[in-house]
Subunit: 397 residues, 3 copies
Amino acid sequence: MTDFNKAIKDLEKLDFKGMFGDDFFLTWEKSEDELKAVWAVADALRALRERNISTKVFDSGLGISLFRDNSTRTRFSFASACNLLGLEVQDLDEGKSQIAHGETVRETANMISFMADVIGIRDDMYIGKGNAYMHAVADAVKEGNEDGVLEQRPNLVNLQCDIDHPTQCMADAAHIINEFGGLENLKGKKIAMTWAYSPSYGKPLSVPQGVIGLFTRLGMEVVLAHPEGYEVMPEVEEVAKKNAQASGGSFRRTNSMEDAFKDADIVYPKSWAPFAAMEKRTNLYGEGDMEGIKKLEKELLEQNAQHKDWACTEDMMKLTKDGKALYLHCLPADITGVSCDEGEVDATVFDRYRVPLYKEASYKPYVIAAMIFLSKFQDPVGLLKELEEKGTKRVLR
Amino acid sequence: MTDFNKAIKDLEKLDFKGMFGDDFFLTWEKSEDELKAVWAVADALRALRERNISTKVFDSGLGISLFRDNSTRTRFSFASACNLLGLEVQDLDEGKSQIAHGETVRETANMISFMADVIGIRDDMYIGKGNAYMHAVADAVKEGNEDGVLEQRPNLVNLQCDIDHPTQCMADAAHIINEFGGLENLKGKKIAMTWAYSPSYGKPLSVPQGVIGLFTRLGMEVVLAHPEGYEVMPEVEEVAKKNAQASGGSFRRTNSMEDAFKDADIVYPKSWAPFAAMEKRTNLYGEGDMEGIKKLEKELLEQNAQHKDWACTEDMMKLTKDGKALYLHCLPADITGVSCDEGEVDATVFDRYRVPLYKEASYKPYVIAAMIFLSKFQDPVGLLKELEEKGTKRVLR
Amino acid sequence: MTDFNKAIKDLEKLDFKGMFGDDFFLTWEKSEDELKAVWAVADALRALRERNISTKVFDSGLGISLFRDNSTRTRFSFASACNLLGLEVQDLDEGKSQIAHGETVRETANMISFMADVIGIRDDMYIGKGNAYMHAVADAVKEGNEDGVLEQRPNLVNLQCDIDHPTQCMADAAHIINEFGGLENLKGKKIAMTWAYSPSYGKPLSVPQGVIGLFTRLGMEVVLAHPEGYEVMPEVEEVAKKNAQASGGSFRRTNSMEDAFKDADIVYPKSWAPFAAMEKRTNLYGEGDMEGIKKLEKELLEQNAQHKDWACTEDMMKLTKDGKALYLHCLPADITGVSCDEGEVDATVFDRYRVPLYKEASYKPYVIAAMIFLSKFQDPVGLLKELEEKGTKRVLR
């Protein structure tokens, strides 16, 4: 059972005033206290739900989801978070082929937001576009509210962009906080965020970038490992370096998976596409050069295939701390012999960590709900206490 | 802030008994009092929401939406209206290629309506079909309720048909009532409902028809302007003429945009397809003559292109009353140099009216909610007062 | 009006403890008392709704629907049932082309279920797969709950599988119980579950199988009739035989529609594909043999066409008890001269039974809701009484 009182006590010590009325784009735009507030509110909401206490703080209102790509898990996580708080989800699927911009974004954002309290967006496909698009939407509805068009300002939650995947990484962090018995116990722990081979192509960079951007703030020893040519966005590496310095942790990059796994407490082996290639692809899409895209895909698959040895095998796991590093993944993983012939992880490794992996994912709806909660309510502590006192049953029984 | 007490006082003077248990197809099938009741209830609901008071009058129940065409804005407006009242939306997308009829309509209408309190339909593509289809659905569920199949009669809201676009035009009207400081101030005001060039093809006639059918009832000077060959349905022109006579306003048609804009208080420049062409297209679809449709499209685009001078330019705006007519549009507009090379309106004109245009759109969810409210409740005034007294918070805070 | 007190009294006599926390796959896996409990709870919920009393027992929570095939009616029935109880529906459409399995099913089932209280699945296309898939999902979320991944165990409702269509057949039964004035009056009544000609191909076997598997438990004389070659699954025939023996009814198979209709109290003429052909088709899909599938379809349509005399005509109806047997169908029916040239039933027969047919369908949302209710609540009787006493209005008025 999650500890409600601990969560409230934690919250009472934190300064998160800045989150009220604001959006959530990137974890490194938030203060440490604000991140801690997300975890604490997530815990508090979970604790109430575990005790069958309703956390419906909206009697009506919409949560708008905007997906620029197919997404089952993120869709359900967002829908779950909205439902938990009493918002009804309306999906807006624009299709991944279109990149709307300018006037259209401003207008559409307002037209769908008359009753919207929150907007969740996933737009991770195009380098330099996803986060920018989210800002365009957020600016549009902020302005719409100021101009008297919208009665409320819908706050934005980044459900994955080209730069960061904050709801995933905050859920990952909540998971390891729980596994290691507290945030303070993460200090000095080594995490290997490493590339791994996958037979599929063009996986987004937002997870590795999000992980190095967030975990360096927790005083951890963060090692980013990938073959040459699989660099992530240089700006995010800079963020990671600065974060590590400030938190007393460390950040370094290596081209050896073994180096990264050596004595690691946590490993996060996962495929991604090289930043430069993703940028090139974005431009090709912009130019409508489908031939060029096809050619690039072929090249990238061939490039991937040169690094099949980058896999989280049983042998690799033996290199980690006591051979027992915690294995993380955002799921779905490419499991060797299960979902593909050769992939990111051995089936036996994956199997051993299935329950923790599922638990890792279980934090996401609560993290999203917490982000919404903190953006919409001026006194979250008071409101959470009120919910507990009222004790409205979630399920009558 | 919207004035709740004024809305209630207005309602208390009106006779709208006929709306209880009834559907909403065309504005000219409703009495003036009934239209006023829609605006008043829309205001009352908005006033309550602005004060964070819940207007959830349904504890459960479904609002069914039936779209025969893609639609983001109307979908969200209907979803917003339903959510505001406590109904959960279920979409039924039939695809625009199929025109269901007869037995199928009756059966499907009943099968999806066991828990439905309201059905919203958009079917604007085919002349002579859309409104007829709505009536078939409404008749089917009325009969289903009388036969004991349905425990309640779901009432129908026309979300756009081949004849009228009542939720749009009622929202347009609510907007100008607000902008001009009251319904009484609209008497004698000149509105130019004019065709405008667009590079796209086959835009529905429901907006111009809805506008001349509604605004002639408000004692306004309504001028319909279009190039020769862009006639709207003759029956609706007849309606407009009779309305004008009864209301002390006027209605006339002209083939000169300048004539219409001259001294106008309000302009509504918007593209549409000629009625005769839409009728032809409907028949071609009926015959499955895709070659014929392609040919017709080409012809229509060429015909459009002969009238590129029909645009709401800065020069045209100067012709209007003090050069400051209120610019209306149902959105999205074809903006010259923004959404197309040459379109309905200059970018600078559109920019100047963006905030009012967005506000115009903001009335639609409330207008839809008001139509539902008036169809479902025998004593709307009493219920609105009860909601205010109870003062249940929409958002806990 | 449905009788609430009778429903409660019925429930008080029944033993349905086993349903709490359990899934609903096949009617013959449930005891007679359990089936009666479904009908009684369905009646109780309907009675409350008829009196405008809310049956919202969930304040929040999701009902997940998983459709492996397009489905309007089942989708709306499930959505209606969830809405009635306070659950919000989230659809997961996987597309009918993919048969997910193993790891993927386990993972997806958990990932979408963090806030799910119920999962409804329709998967009727592939012999040997649909029911198995449902069990895989149910096992996955049961395990997820035991492992602490899911805070609640979502219970599964079979919305149609390759073996049974329990929500349809339970609704059919509720209908005839009502038409014949009580379950006890069904004893000895003859029902003809017969094949009928349809110009379409590959209709599922779940309805005829569900009907013979359920109605044989009610002490009825169940006759299954079809042309040679249209056999249903042999296992289900075995179930029907055993059921009949236990209930004092009877079950037999005939290749004569006349034989089945002779003196029947109830007729259920409906097309289906031969079991063996469906099995072959499943294998062809598994092998991706699209040529083979095409060929099989052609063969089956030709086979069907040899049995156009298997139709529920006026002449056939004259053979039934007093010429007035109750006509059942799961809808939509292939009506001769209406939805096709030659089909399952004469238009005049269908017309005469339209209202009862629609009523038959109206039981389905309540049957689904009852299945959910009985799986989620330990003391359904107490809860139903509580709902009645509280008397929260469904619609404020």
